[in-house]
C-alpha cells in the first residue's frame, strides 16, 4: 500500500465520494474525469492549488505514472481515494479546503494604488513575455470582447470570445488560458454592481456550452472561471492588485502566476489584466496594446 495525504482540495472537489476514470497522467499530475462529467486533478504538492485540484503530499521522486494508467478507475469513498489495481490511495479527510474565489475582491482601478499595481503587473508581464507567446488571433479579439462586455451585450460577447476557444498549442490552448484569466479578471472587478453580476451570471451558460469545443482540461478551468474560481497563483495576483500592494510583491506575484502551468501562465496573466481593466473608466489608458 502507498497511502498519501492530501494537503488541500479545491472548492469543486466532492470530498467524501466521487467516481472517475483517469483521463491523462503526467509525472506530477493526474486528471480524473468524474461520472458527472467534471474534471478533478491530482497534483503533487509543489503545484498550485486550483478549484478542482487535490494537492497531495508526495514523497521526493514521486511519479503518478508509476501508479496510475489512463483509463483506470479512480474513486473516492469516505474520503479515501483509491486507484483500481494499484497500491496508491490518497486520504482527503484532513485536507484543507482551498477556495479560489475572486468575486469579493472588488478590484477598483480608479483607486490609485490598485491602478499602480495593475501597471506594475502589466510591465512585468511585458518584460517577461516571450515573443509569440500569445497568438495574435487571440489578442486581436480582446478589445472587441472588452467592448461587448462593457455594453453588457451577451450576444456580442459570445461572438467575441468564440474564436479564442481552443485556439493555440499546448495542453491548454493559449486562447482558453487568456479567456480563463479574462473571466477571472471580470469577476475580480465586478464588486457589488448588480447589473454586472447578473451579466456575468448569464454569461456562464454560454461559456459552458462553448467549452464543448475544447479539451477536458481547459474545459474544467473555463467552467470554474465562469463562476469566479481560479488557481492559487492567479488568485494571489488578483488579490495583490485589489489591495494595491507594493510593487515588489506585485512583481513577485506576477512572476509566480506566469510560471504556473507549462505554458498557460503568461496567457492567464494577460487575460486577468484585461478582464480587470474592462470596466475601469480609464480603460482607454490601460487597454490592450498591440503586443
Amino acid at each position: 500500500m502507498l497511502r498519501l495525504e492530501a494537503l488541500s482540495i479545491g472548492s469543486a472537489v466532492p470530498r467524501p465520494a466521487f467516481d472517475g476514470i483517469a483521463q491523462s497522467v503526467f509525472r506530477r499530475a493526474c486528471n480524473i474525469r468524474t461520472g458527472d462529467g467534471e474534471l478533478l486533478a491530482l497534483l503533487t504538492n509543489d503545484l498550485a492549488d486550483s478549484p478542482h485540484g487535490i494537492r497531495v503530499a508526495a514523497p521526493a521522486g514521486f511519479d503518478f505514472q508509476t501508479h496510475i494508467g489512463a483509463g483506470r478507475t479512480v474513486s473516492c469513498r469516505a474520503g479515501i481515494t483509491r486507484v483500481a489495481g494499484s497500491e496508491l490511495s490518497i486520504d482527503l479527510s484532513s485536507a484543507r479546503r482551498w477556495r479560489g474565489d475572486v468575486s469579493r475582491f472588488s478590484v477598483d482601478l480608479t483607486r490609485p494604488q490598485s491602478a499602480r499595481a495593475w501597471v506594475v503587473a502589466r510591465n512585468e508581464l511585458d518584460k517577461r513575455l516571450l515573443p509569440n507567446a500569445l497568438p495574435v488571433q487571440v489578442t486581436r479579439v480582446v478589445p472587441r470582447l472588452m467592448e461587448a462586455v462593457r455594453e453588457q451585450c451577451l450576444h456580442q460577447t459570445v461572438r467575441a470570445f468564440a474564436p479564442m476557444i481552443g485556439c493555440g498549442e499546448g495542453l491548454t490552448p493559449a486562447g482558453d488560458d487568456v479567456l480563463v484569466g479574462y473571466l477571472v479578471g471580470l469577476w475580480s472587478a465586478v464588486g457589488r454592481d448588480r447589473q454586472r453580476l447578473m451579466f456575468l451570471a448569464a454569461l456562464s451558460g454560454p461559456i459552458e456550452t462553448a467549452t464543448q469545443l475544447t479539451n477536458d482540461i481547459s474545459c474544467a478551468y473555463l467552467k470554474q472561471a465562469a463562476h469566479g474560481f481560479a488557481g492559487s497563483h492567479i488568485v494571489a495576483l488578483a488579490r495583490q492588485i485589489a489591495v494595491g500592494a507594493a510593487a515588489a510583491r506585485v512583481r513577485s506575484a506576477t512572476g509566480s502566476a506566469m510560471a504556473a502551468g507549462a505554458s498557460s501562465g503568461p496567457a492567464g496573466v494577460y487575460g486577468l489584466l484585461m478582464g480587470m481593466a474592462t470596466w475601469a473608466p480609464q480603460a482607454g489608458r490601460l487597454k490592450a496594446e498591440t503586443i
Binding site: M1, P16, A17, D19, T73, V74, S75, C76, R77, A78, G79, I80, T81, R82, V83, A84, G85, E87, S89
Partner: protein, 532 residues
C-alpha cells in the same frame, strides 16, 4: 541393517536443497535413515554421531555425499537412484509471477474495485453488524441480509449511516432492487417509475411482481429490514428511503409496505410521505384504514391493492379499479366448493413467505369470521399450540425460525412443505391447501417440479379416502425471472392447482370455496349447481 552411500564429486547444492532431499529420501520405502550433505568435516562428524558414516571418512568439502540406511539393499539402491535423478534434474521453468490474492476484507476489495458503492452482508449474525459498520466507515451503502443482529446494533448502524447519507437496508433484509439490479431474493422486474420502500421482503417481491404483471415498472425497491418501523428504530431507513425517492427524478409514485408500525413511527412516516409532493401508496398490512388517513396518501389493504393503486396513479388513471378491500363471507360462492366432502371444512395455508402468511391470516379472519390459527398470528389468541400440527383453519409461515433451524429456507428447500402437504392431506377436515410459490433470484430453480410430486401424492391420499383436496395458490414472479413465470404457472396448473394472480386473490378464492361450501348432497338437492 545396511548402509549405502554415493558421492557426487564437485557437486554443490545449498543446505536448504540438501535438507529437502534428505527429507524426501527418508520418506521412501525401505529407508530408515537418509542424509544428503556436502562432505565437510563438520557434516561428516555429525553423520558419524548418528552412525551413517565411519568416523575415519576423509572429508571432501566440494563433494556431495548421499547416505541411506535400511534393511533391504534393493530399496536402498532405488533410493540412491532417486537421489541422483533429483540432483541432476533441471529446475522447471517458473514464470516467477505470483497469483493475485483474492480479496479477504471489504477494505481489500475496495483496492480492487474502488468504485464499489454497496456491501451486501450475509455473514453469520454475530459478525454481520461489524461488517456493516466497516462498510459504512468505508463509505459504502449496506444491504444487511443477515438476521440475528441485535436491536442496539441496528439503531447504532442506522444513526451512523444517516449521518453519512448512506443507506442500511436491514438487518434481516432479504430483498431489494437498486438501479434495476436484483439483490438477495428478488425478481427481475421491468424498470419504470414506481418506487417502493418495504419492511418486508416477500411483500416487496409481491408488489414489484404485480407492478410488472400490470404492465408498469419499478424505479427502485428499497428494503428496510423487518424491525425498522419499531419505535426504537424510528423508521430511520424508511424515512431515508422516502426522501431518496422523493428526490429521484425517475420515481413518480412511492409505495410503502410494512406490518403496522408503532404509532409514533407511523405518524412520522405518513407525515413525510404526505409532504413528498408525489402520490404515496401505503400498505400497512392489515392496519385499519383510519390509521393511514392523510392528504396525498392512498391506503391499500393488501399487497395486490397497493400494486394496482400504484400502477393506476402512475398511469394517471384517476380512481381506477379500486381494490377488492374487505372480503365478506359467502359473497361469491365458488363452483369448486361442490367437489368437497361434508367433512372438509378447513383451509390450510402453507406459506414460504412470511408476509403472504400474515396477509392470508388477517384476510381469512375477516372473510370467515372465525379464528385462523397460525404460528405467527396477528392476534395472540390465534397462536397454534403445536406448530407442527394444524387445527381448524390454519396458516403457517414455514420460513419462521422454528422450522428453519438447521435447514435451508422453504423458498430454496421444499422438503418440509412437501411433508406438511401430505400430512394435511391425511386430515379429513382439510378442504383447501393454500400455497405461495416464490420465484426470482435466490429461490429454487424449479419450484413447480419440486412441488408436483407432493401435490400428486396428496391427491392420492385424499382420493383413497373418497375426498378431493383443492390446491389454491399464486406464483410471485415475472416472465424475466430465471424460473420463467409462465412455465411455472403452466406446470402448476397441470398439477391441478387453481392459480390466482396474487396472494390476496388466492386467499379470496380459498375463502369462497370454504365459506360457500355446503354438503354436496344438500347442494344438489337445491336444484343444481350455481356457477356463480
Amino acid at each position: 541393517m545396511t548402509t549405502l552411500s554415493r558421492v557426487f564429486p564437485n557437486f554443490y547444492r545449498d543446505s536448504v536443497s540438501l535438507m529437502q532431499l534428505s527429507a524426501k529420501l527418508g520418506a521412501l520405502a525401505g529407508v530408515e535413515q537418509a542424509a544428503a550433505v556436502m562432505a565437510t568435516k563438520a557434516n561428516l562428524a555429525l553423520l558419524a554421531e548418528t552412525g551413517l558414516v565411519r568416523e575415519d571418512t576423509a572429508p571432501s568439502p566440494n563433494n556431495l555425499l548421499v547416505v541411506v540406511r535400511g534393511a533391504d539393499e534393493t530399496q536402498l539402491e532405488a533410493a540412491l537412484a532417486e537421489a541422483k535423478a533429483a540432483l541432476e534434474a533441471r529446475p522447471s521453468a517458473s514464470t516467477g509471477e505470483a497469483l493475485p490474492e483474492k480479496a479477504r476484507s471489504i477494505e481489500m476489495a475496495l483496492g480492487e474495485m474502488p468504485d464499489a458503492n454497496l456491501a451486501l452482508v450475509s455473514t453469520p449474525g454475530e459478525y454481520a453488524a461489524d461488517e456493516a459498520r466497516k462498510a459504512l466507515n468505508l463509505g459504502l451503502h449496506v444491504m444487511l441480509f443477515s438476521d440475528n443482529v441485535s436491536l442496539e446494533e441496528e439503531i447504532s448502524l442506522k444513526h451512523r449511516a444517516r449521518g453519512r447519507d448512506l443507506l442500511v437496508m436491514g438487518p434481516d433484509c432479504g430483498t431489494a432492487i437498486i438501479n434495476g439490479i436484483p439483490l438477495g431474493f428478488a425478481n427481475v422486474v421491468r424498470r419504470g417509475d414506481i418506487g417502493c420502500v418495504a419492511a418486508s421482503g416477500t411483500g416487496l417481491q409481491q408488489v414489484t411482481c404485480l407492478v410488472d404483471r400490470y404492465g408498469a415498472g419499478i424505479s427502485q425497491a428499497i428494503g428496510t429490514g423487518g424491525r425498522d418501523l419499531k419505535a426504537e428504530v424510528g423508521g430511520m431507513t424508511m424515512l431515508q428511503g422516502i426522501a431518496a425517492l422523493t428526490h429521484d427524478p425517475a420515481t413518480r409514485v412511492i409505495v410503502l409496505i410494512s406490518k403496522p408500525p408503532a404509532p409514533t413511527v407511523a405518524d412520522r412516516v405518513l407525515g413525510i410521505a404526505a409532504r413528498s409532493g408525489k402520490p404515496v401508496v401505503v400498505n400497512f398490512l392489515g392496519a385499519a384504514p383510519e390509521m393511514v388517513k392523510r392528504e396525498g396518501v392512498h391506503a391499500a389493504r393488501t399487497l395486490e391493492d397497493a400494486a394496482r393503486l400504484a400502477v393506476d396513479l402512475a398511469t394517471g388513471k384517476a380512481g381506477g379499479s379500486r381494490g377488492r378491500g374487505n372480503l365478506r363471507a359467502g359473497s361469491a360462492r365458488s363452483p369448486d366448493a361442490a367437489r368437497l366432502a361434508p367433512s372438509q371444512k378447513y383451509i390450510r395455508g402453507l406459506y414460504s413467505g412470511g408476509t403472504f402468511c400474515y396477509e392470508a391470516s388477517f384476510l381469512l379472519t375477516e372473510a370467515l369470521g372465525t379464528t385462523v390459527y397460525s404460528n405467527t398470528p396477528v392476534d395472540k389468541r390465534a397462536a397454534l399450540p403445536d406448530v407442527w400440527t394444524s387445527r381448524e383453519h390454519t396458516v403457517v409461515d414455514l420460513g419462521d425460525d422454528l422450522f428453519t433451524r438447521g435447514r435451508p429456507h422453504p423458498m430454496i428447500d421444499h422438503r418440509l412443505r412437501n411433508e406438511r402437504i401430505l400430512a394435511e392431506a391425511a386430515d379429513p377436515g382439510v378442504a383447501v391447501l393454500l400455497l405461495d410459490v416464490v420465484l426470482g433470484y435466490g429461490a429454487h430453480p424449479d419450484p413447480a417440479a419440486e412441488m408436483e410430486p407432493a401435490i400428486r401424492s396428496a391427491r392420492d391420499i385424499a382420493t383413497k379416502h373418497g375426498r378431493e383436496i383443492l390446491f389454491v395458490g399464486s406464483v410471485c414472479g415475472t416472465a424475466a425471472d430465471p424460473q420463467d413465470l409462465s412455465r411455472q404457472e403452466a406446470a402448476l396448473r397441470d398439477a391441478g392447482v387453481l392459480l390466482a394472480n396474487s396472494n390476496a386473490e388466492a386467499v379470496r378464492l380459498a375463502a369462497a370455496i370454504v365459506g360457500g361450501s355446503r354438503p354436496a348432497a344438500q347442494h344438489r338437492a337445491e336444484g343444481g349447481s350455481r356457477n356463480g
